[in-house]
Symmetry: C2
Subunit: 124 residues, 2 copies
DNA sequence: ACTTGACCTCGAGTCAGCTCGAGATTGTAT
DNA sequence: ATACAATCTCGAGCTGACTCGAGGTCAAGT
């Protein structure tokens, strides 16, 4: 099963413009039909979903590009790719811890507001 | 105790340029000396640290600006400010859950690589 | 034959969030 | 007095990640 850019766009909820941009950035390289139109496969689908996950976890496009290029080379880059993911995993878990800390802080601040507001009401 | 922009910059590890940019964006409004130079106070310090936390948790500058403007108005905006923080807290906890999910996914992928690499080695 | 709709390329525009530099002023050290 | 370092304003430039539009192609339907 293959998809036109329009179908693919709807499927993964990324604009056609963005898909072409990602291709230009060498994140994804769909096949072309004889008439020059892009032709996305199932494996492009799983691949772009993975890309989105990397993006959502804050990996910059340049970094994803590196990964994509290694992937294109093949099995010889397995170790390098894994290392890149492990590095990213570390960044990610640090980020999560950070956010959790901020969350606690935010909760304290909110509590502080609650108290302040209650006291103001009692004053009136 | 007050600080010049240079001292303050070193203290909080933000460039002088960035501090002036934040001021222009109305996030922070330091006093001025008669000669026109900025003069940051202790309370500016705690405030900017809070700003950084909001930024680190992904709040856009425009949103922080809203908060800063309400803060400048005073106690009348307590409830609104609290609501803004509560809204932000929700966004934040959704984001954390999301990242945790991605983390699991990433772990699976890494495991997959480990297996693939081991098998390749055994093949040789 | 002709319109329509989905596609193509390429270059430019947008937005957030800085980052930089020119040119002027001011305060301290020699 | 003079040099120097830190500050000031203002406007321009930069990076990342899209986003848009003009002008052209191509295949299917009427």
């Amino acid at each position: 099963m293959t998809y036109t850019i329009g179908e693919f766009s709807r499927l993964i909820n990324l604009s056609i413009h963005t898909l072409r941009y990602y291709e230009q950035q060498e994140l994804i390289t769909p096949q072309r039909l004889k008439n020059g139109r892009r032709c996305y496969s199932e494996s492009d689908l799983t691949w772009i979903q993975f890309i989105r996950r990397l993006k959502d976890t804050g990996m910059p496009i340049k970094e994803i590009q590196k990964y994509a290029k290694m992937r294109a080379v093949g099995d010889a880059t397995l170790v390098d790719r894994m290392e890149l993911l492990i590095k990213h995993r570390q960044i990610l878990s640090r980020e999560i811890m950070n956010l959790q800390e901020h969350q606690v802080n935010l909760d304290n601040k909110i509590d502080y507001y609650k108290t302040a507001i209650t006291e103001r009401i009692e004053d009136n």
